[in-house]
């Protein structure tokens, strides 16, 4: 009968149809949770959180995927879909969700080492790692460590946005770091905001 008590409590607390259906953009963003977690707050390691992502960055990512500039066999079709549905509403939906830091465990030593290696990153991503719209840099804090590491490796291998001249300096920089240091940096940025 516990379920019934809870059901009754829920019914009493919430007015009719006050769920995600009324959140602007839900009917266009509902399919994303299959990979990115409820309302974009991921529980997984290899996909990014979208919850609380600034709209400008989400829109740039969707544009880059849809145009094939940022190759991803998964995100290219979905980005084309988002564009037919209306990217502004999708971006607005995720920007309005509370950002939740990843729960994936990170190693304390790795975090310490990552912090030590992060000085150059801070120049673009900010001292706090939260990114900067003016510089075009995303918020790295609280993203899952696996996702951050994969993206750095993709930069390093010239597989993320290959040939994009605006990103040359960051790729050069990633190439100068070994994978162990990249993993430390991923652990560090993931640990911020927890």
């Amino acid at each position: 009968m516990r379920a019934l008590v809870i059901a009754a409590a829920l019914a009493a607390a919430a007015p009719a149809a006050a769920g995600p259906i009324d959140a602007p953009g839900f009917t266009k963003a509902f399919s994303c949770s299959a990979c990115h977690g409820r309302a974009g707050a991921t529980r997984a390691d290899a996909v990014p959180s979208l919850a609380g992502m600034p709209a400008w960055y989400l829109k740039k990512a969707i544009d880059d995927y849809a145009a094939g500039r940022r190759p991803s066999p998964e995100m290219e079709p979905f980005s084309k879909m988002v564009k037919t549905l209306g990217v502004d509403e999708v971006a607005g939906y995720f920007a309005a969700q509370p950002r939740e830091a990843s729960q994936i465990k990170v190693d304390r030593t790795a975090v310490v080492n990552g912090r030590a290696a992060s000085a150059t990153c801070a120049a673009c991503h900010g001292e706090d790692g939260r990114g900067d719209a003016a510089k075009g840099t995303p918020d790295l804090t609280g993203q899952p460590p696996g996702y951050l590491l994969n993206q750095m490796k993709l930069f390093k291998a010239e597989k993320r946005s290959p040939g994009d001249a605006t990103l040359t300096s960051i790729k050069v920089f990633m190439k100068s770091l070994d994978d162990a240091t990249l993993a430390d940096l991923a652990a560090y940025y993931s640990s911020l905001g927890r």
């Binding site: 379920a3 059901a7 829920l10 259906i21 977690g37 998964e74």
Partner: protein, 429 residues
């Protein structure tokens, strides 16, 4: 049919109500058991009720999202199994890469986080005219019904299959059969022959049999190097990710693939299957994946089309073209250009939930296209994927694009794991 017999017996003997005393859940809500021959409304409701039949990928999602979107609605989920066992990733149980436990989840999240009422029973009939769902011990009334019973097997299509019972396994509904088939594979002697059959399309999970072939071949290659796998496919070619699977199989010289080899007979005494062209293939372990149709309850309720196999629905609301206020989702459906996949079932669950909530509240249902991804594991560590995006055009779902991963990789295996983690939570948490 044992269930029908039992119900008929109970009805005839006028003791249906007694049969339920001792059942947990909301059994007592139908009032005190009375020895009447007319089964009664089991759970009288004053509010507006949505019933969901089937708590798999589609139905559990729908139940959760109806409650999330409109907590004033009562949702009753009817599902005989007490545990949800994921078909996706269950091929990895055959190769020993995953345990069945890692794919098994409870329904507490739906109950406690979302206030879904769950009856662990089977629906025995659907009556759209009176808006009732029947169970063994009575009926429940609904305002709208969501039917998500998955698939059932056309066992009669293969001679000897029904009589073979547990000696010939399908393992196409994750659970005890998956574990039993894994054991048979493990116990098969090195040098043995594992035969599996692929049914004619349409069936649940187009790439699934080929993923299974990879897992069995990988296992044999690493554990029983002299054993071999023969895949007998009813179709003319690999029907999903064709080039990718063909490339992946280069690593498995122990895998023999035979197209256009529909299995029509199985003989567990002789340990032999026969194809429609009369070829006989001997096996040490066999896995027959039979032809399929919509879950029995959908067939029985005549929600299926002239083929008597699958249910046609509206592409926006998922309302059955054959019955008002009855929505069908998941593998039971046909006609929407989407595969029978868990990702699609989950998407349909959300779309139908949103449609139902809007329609009950007197609003039009929004147009929500589904999205699909199917990852396939080709070894213990590498996966690949097919991705489909859709839009809605004049009330019909049409594909925008299908894309394949350029090959297999450990990165896509990571993405596959991320997908599973996320979608299991999207369904049940």
């Amino acid at each position: 049919m044992a269930r029908m017999t039992r119900r008929d017996f109970l009805k005839a003997s006028g003791s249906a109500a007694f049969a339920v005393s001792g059942l947990a859940g909301c059994a007592s809500m139908g009032g005190a058991p009375t020895a009447t021959t007319t089964p009664s409304e089991l759970m009288p409701t004053t509010g507006r009720r949505v019933i969901v039949v089937g708590g798999g990928w589609a139905g559990a999602t729908a139940a959760k999202y109806v409650r999330m979107e409109d907590p004033s609605l009562e949702v009753v989920l009817i599902e005989p199994n007490r545990k949800f066992i994921s078909c996706p990733f269950s091929n990895l149980v055959l190769s020993g890469v995953r345990s069945i436990g890692s794919l098994t989840f409870g329904y507490n999240g739906l109950r406690e986080q979302h206030g879904v009422k769950i009856l662990h029973e089977s629906a025995t009939a659907i009556e759209p005219d009176t808006r009732r769902v029947r169970l063994d011990r009575g009926f429940l009334s609904y305002e709208r019904l969501i039917v998500a019973p998955g698939i059932d097997f056309q066992t009669e299509q293969i001679e000897g299959l029904a009589a073979a019972g547990d000696r010939v396994l399908h393992a196409w509904k994750a659970g005890p059969q998956t574990v039993a088939l894994a054991r048979q594979l493990k116990e098969m002697p090195d040098g043995g022959v594992f035969v599996m059959s692929v049914p004619p399309a349409a069936y649940r999970c187009p790439p699934g049999p080929y993923e299974r072939a990879c897992q069995v071949a990988w296992y044999l290659k690493t554990r029983k190097p002299r054993a071999k796998l023969i895949v007998l496919d009813a179709n003319q070619n690999v029907i999903s990710k064709t080039a990718l699977f063909r490339a992946a199989w280069q690593a498995y010289p122990n895998l023999e693939y035979r197209a256009s080899s529909k299995v029509v007979k199985v003989d567990p005494e002789a340990r032999e299957v026969t194809t429609e062209f009369g070829d006989k293939v001997r096996y040490d372990v066999v896995n027959v994946i039979p032809p399929q149709r919509a879950g029995a309850i959908a067939v029985q309720a005549d929600l299926v089309g002239v083929d008597k196999r699958w249910c046609e629905v509206d592409h926006v609301t998922y309302e059955s073209v054959k019955a008002k206020n009855v929505h069908v989702i998941g593998d039971s459906t046909i006609g929407i250009p989407v595969p029978k996949s868990g990702t699609i079932a989950n998407a349909m669950g959300k779309i139908a939930a949103t449609a139902v909530v809007n329609l009950i509240n007197g609003r039009p249902a929004p147009q929500m296209p589904p999205a699909n991804v199917c990852y396939s594991w080709v070894s213990d560590s590498e996966a690949m994927a097919v991705v489909n995006a859709y839009r809605i055009d004049n009330g019909k779902v049409v594909q925008i694009e299908q894309k394949l991963t350029p090959g297999q990789s450990t990165l896509y295996a990571q993405h596959a794991t991320a997908w599973a983690t996320s979608i299991w939570a999207d369904i049940l948490a």
